[in-house]
Symmetry: C2
């Protein structure tokens, strides 16, 4: 769905947060893992079933307070084709509970290959006369290093299916600046990440919807608040997806710079701090949903306070 | 496997070519598609079975003349979890026939997520006390926009499992230069793609193997021969994967600039021109393997001539 629909869900719950569903097996409580190992052995099928149960219970326990989930594709791919099914079932269940689904897969390619990725995650594939929607997410993260050839096929699909993408602009990791912060020659000390952000606004300019955002958002890390401030000022039609909050060190105050003056235009991600909250709280793995819910409420309240 | 083992396979067959297995359903002859539609309906399962048969017959028909295949992940992902299984079965079969397998997935992420991708495609995942190798490819394409944090986890896995990666440096598409050709300030008119190539050589310097190449290769398009010449001169320890030959417009003479003076250090990809050769030749879809073999022999001979 477009960012207008994401913004509506955020407004309804007064919570601009997305929970990252990164089901590293180490985050899943042992009683879930053991149950499926007993039935299916120590296999990718058992692990995938554990992932599905874990995700479904988290989604059920969070959907009335959190508007969106962001499954991180790598953890599903690491379980082979069983993991691909777990990703699909996770997306379907989250959507059935009214949540906005962002698949974090950072896809990138050109031409018909980029079209195949966008069909896979946001659109549909023709199989004979049938139309098959492989994952049907609301949004997908993408990487723009290949230039506009690499993004336009995703925009086409996003328009056709009322979806959206988030392009990596300034990421949250320590070495993000090695390439992204390079100053470009003859462009008044413009950085590469600024050039990427501008290119994304430019090529998506005619896709502006309600609230004024185009269908190409930007990933901008909470760990670089100065760069965040600059980008928010500079890219007024771009919706931001903000990683780096919590475990990676970004605070609610840092993340707050991602929002427009009206309090809109951004969503902040937290993964481990929510889904693996049971590991750091005093609660046992049995109560992992309660632990996640407490952590999600704390994050919501911190963001609300920071945005006052 | 490392690039030394790829170079050995190239030397054995005297053919520095890789066939891209990009099974867009439109490339698969109708008699294969129809057979599986009759059995499984117009479903992703039928389509995936058609992909597997198509790939297996191509691999059987090419493995004595072509040293490597490069499945393009997008086309498999577009068939959901059935497609993930088709990718796995394709990789396994190609390896059983002695071919080097490069999964073209252009993955990119940081920290534990990058580790999960590298485990998925090159390494293994712990499931309880069992070790599971989801795809077990020999090499994987990656995207370096996130900086060294995004590549080092892949290098770790590559060392542990004797594998390799190819990072996008200068891609073959028309808009490749929009970001990649940006001149960097204060670095003696260095381009972004040069900076990416240098960073990759630098962080992989201690992984040099036989023949002198590190475990991080570079994707460099045949459609930009001047840039290719410069990069070959500049990155002496980097093995090149060369897209853009054939359908995209790069000639064998263009691709030849990717090789070191001793004729080593590169592999040239062709996808559609080989696997869908039956569509442009006078042969019917029944003889698609013969058509692919003829096209592969033609490519081999063109490359041999260009490298004389």
């Amino acid at each position: 769905m477009s960012f207008a629909l994401l913004q509506q869900k955020i407004d309804e719950l007064k919570n601009p947060a997305v929970v990252g569903l990164d089901p590293d097996l180490a985050h899943i409580p042992p009683q879930i893992i053991d149950k499926y190992f007993a039935e299916f052995g120590e296999t990718p099928e058992a692990a995938s079933r554990a992932v599905i149960e874990f995700n479904i219970n988290l989604i059920s326990g969070l959907c009335d307070i959190v508007p969106a989930v962001k499954p991180q594709s790598a953890y599903y791919e690491a379980l082979g084709h069983h993991g691909a099914l777990a990703l699909k079932m996770t997306c379907d269940y989250a959507k059935s509970k009214g949540m906005y689904v962002i698949i974090d897969a950072k896809r990138n390619d050109i031409g018909s290959t980029a079209a195949a990725y966008s069909a896979a995650y946001l659109g549909s594939v023709k199989i004979g006369s049938a139309e098959f929607m492989p994952y049907d997410a609301d949004a997908l993260t993408v990487n723009a290093y290949l230039g506009s050839d690499g993004i336009l096929p995703f925009i086409d699909t996003a328009i056709r299916f009322d979806k959206a993408v988030f392009a990596l602009v300034k990421t949250s990791n320590p070495s993000a600046g090695e390439l992204q912060d390079k100053l470009l020659s003859g462009e008044q000390s413009k950085t590469l990440y600024t050039a990427v952000g501008e290119l994304m606004e430019e090529i998506s300019a005619d896709t502006q919807g309600e609230y004024g955002y185009t269908r190409v958002g930007a990933v901008v890390g909470a760990t670089y608040p100065d760069e965040m401030k600059f980008l928010r000022e500079h890219l007024k039609r771009t919706f931001f997806l903000v990683p780096g909050y919590g475990a990676q060190g970004g605070s609610a105050a840092d993340a707050a710079y991602a929002f427009c003056e009206n309090g809109r235009g951004a969503i902040v991600n937290s993964s481990r701090s929510i889904i693996a909250a049971w590991k750091t709280s005093n609660e046992s793995g049995i109560h992992y949903v309660d632990a996640a819910r407490k952590a999600a409420l704390k994050m919501r309240d911190e963001l609300r306070n920071a945005l006052k």
